[in-house]
Assembly symmetry: C2
Homo-oligomer: 454 residues x 2
Amino acid sequence: MRIRKFLLTENEIPDKWYNIMADMPNKPLPPLNPATKEPIGPDALAPLFPMALIMQEVSTEKWIEIPDEVREIYTLWRPTPLYRAHGLEKALGTPARIYYKYEGVSPSGSHKPNTAVPQAYYNAKEGVKKIATETGAGQWGSALSFACSHFNMECEVYMVRVSYDGKPYRKVMMNTWGANVYASPSNRTAAGRKILAEHPDSPGSLGIAISEAVEVAASDPNAKYALGSVLNHVLLHQTIIGQEALKQMEKAGEMPDIVIAPFGGGSNFAGLSFPFLRLNFEEGKKIRCIASEPASCPKLTRGVFRYDFGDTIGMTPLLPMYTLGHNFIPAPIHAGGLRYHGAGVIVSQLLKDKLIEAVSHTNPEVFKAGIIFARAEGIIPAPEATHGIATVIREAQKCKEEGVSKTILFNLCGHGHFDMKAYQDYFEGKIKEHELTDAEIRESLKELTTPEIA
Amino acid sequence: MRIRKFLLTENEIPDKWYNIMADMPNKPLPPLNPATKEPIGPDALAPLFPMALIMQEVSTEKWIEIPDEVREIYTLWRPTPLYRAHGLEKALGTPARIYYKYEGVSPSGSHKPNTAVPQAYYNAKEGVKKIATETGAGQWGSALSFACSHFNMECEVYMVRVSYDGKPYRKVMMNTWGANVYASPSNRTAAGRKILAEHPDSPGSLGIAISEAVEVAASDPNAKYALGSVLNHVLLHQTIIGQEALKQMEKAGEMPDIVIAPFGGGSNFAGLSFPFLRLNFEEGKKIRCIASEPASCPKLTRGVFRYDFGDTIGMTPLLPMYTLGHNFIPAPIHAGGLRYHGAGVIVSQLLKDKLIEAVSHTNPEVFKAGIIFARAEGIIPAPEATHGIATVIREAQKCKEEGVSKTILFNLCGHGHFDMKAYQDYFEGKIKEHELTDAEIRESLKELTTPEIA
């Protein structure tokens, strides 16, 4: 009997998160105050985040302890399984050895609870009564709703309009855990009203929804804000994925040559890859880490590296990132979690320093990859996850052409149970590529008045 | 840190199924030929099932080996976790110690692949090219689609109309694994056309869908039929659940006083409870095993014990079962998997012999239980599973009233990701009880001309 799954016991759940800041040869540039263009300190973030998370945001300590209360909730779904993709290898006829870490076993079905739980925990500990947030496809909003229900906190979710309409059951899921969910742009905030005045039919974007949630948090002393990706502390929490995967690859007696993950704001990719990058830093290994983004939202492969806002309206500090411009509104692809204009600062710096790679895939390409995977392995991937699978298939085919057997590991970050409409669209031939011209990207970036980076 | 989850390794997946037939004090009466009313032999089933499954159907061997190929596919999701429900205990304020086995981690989200995989395997081994089946809520159809995709077999699913309309994404899920899905009653079969002629707006039932699938299988020499519950071999395959749970309860250092599972045709209940009933038989333990059924389809609590057809049209052999009559069409509750008129013969005999118990719950009661569970434990249960949870809550409240700390184990047979419409209906106050009068049950049973049992 071939082994298809590598498990860990509850006691093997890591007790520390890995902070890559400690090992980066070039640290990211500091965030700037948008008015003064001066670096901001931790205090500037205090209206939005509890101090424990702010300290994690700026920390350069290599290891940060995971509180026992968080680890106990983690045990609801962690450690997650690592699979050897025998079925996919066979379907592709590749000599590559393919593994995947499966995060879809969490209650909300993705990797997002890995950070939602500690974020809710630290907020609860500092007496916060309500958390406002945004969500794209609904993965992050679901995760935070689930986490807040564990700490009896109110949760208010601004859900990107195109997903709100297309994924009504994600909303019901959040309601089931007790959260309130609003379509964004909404009439509940000044930011939302501003967008609606200009674009009454706006499909929304993560950038807009972030503006709304930030506004709600900033205007209520009992409320804070939470972000599901991009920020350093979010990437930090997700490193539990890669740390478990590392132990599991050791059990499998292998080390990956290539690590692949989908890319939205960076937490999915960071979660799996940073613990392997640590081996590159510490031991001089040469593990290639590849971020997979949609061709319709290509900040890593076609964006510029400069300061930009994290949201659309311009309420956040300026961050040094690969960006398509904070006004960029991506096509309404089903992979809502990847529709974000910028990349987290750590990942941006790593890409700038050529320590990681990035590739993009078209919309039809990723769904084709998703179907191949579902039939070969049995698990139906979320549209976000299909981007990583498309990269895996590309690399596995290279192995076949070159006759080499590389070991590939990827992050199957979530299941597609709430995305069956997307698969339906694929079967009905409705999945098209949203061709993005250079002129459109130049146009979006032209409006930027934020500081450039030399 | 409290332990919330008890895992097993891949090597601890049982290598044999447990056949309770070997231990039953009274064996079930034989199935009868509907024309002659004479007992039928294994050959009579050959048009519908491969011989390996027929031999399991009639076997009285205590242990039946699980083929390595099946165990390898099982490892995609097995062993499944066993949880201690600390959150639910706290929410109920009960001294009861509550555990649950979670089968929702399978690719199709329920316990059904446990039997779908071996059924597909044995069919493939005997050269079958196509399997026809019925599905209620879609759990079984999804599972068989998944299983058939592993063996490159065609899969044709007759899905009860009310579920087909209410759960379109279950259909897409089956399509994703390559299956063809039709609403039942359909125009594709004589059985379907007969029903439609009499009831053009028929919401369908499992009994009708079974008639259709059986007809398709019986009329195509390359096709066979597969059933997702009721039959002995299906119950047999599901015993892997209880066998794992037994090992996990031992790890937790406890033995359940009460074992609870939802009841549709019997495989869910049998899967968890039979390995514990074995201890009652072998060691004289007194573990109470309780089947939870909907008040709107109460064959165990309000049906009669007699011979009846397994399907609506009357194409199957006559089976000695608790039944509401094969013409009974239950109210269109969301727990589609529990909308079946009869109970499997083994479970029926055990109930007749008072070796197990049965209770029923109303529709609003089960959804209330489901919400309590989702908020307390984080996992959103399938509507079928909420029936078991309602029984758990009832027993846990008894413990509270009596001040005793019993250990309760139940089968969380699936997640509710494809049932969010049901939760939406609950939040919108649309979940009502379908009061079933004694007169209605008498009416349904009156038409029966099948043999009574003394």
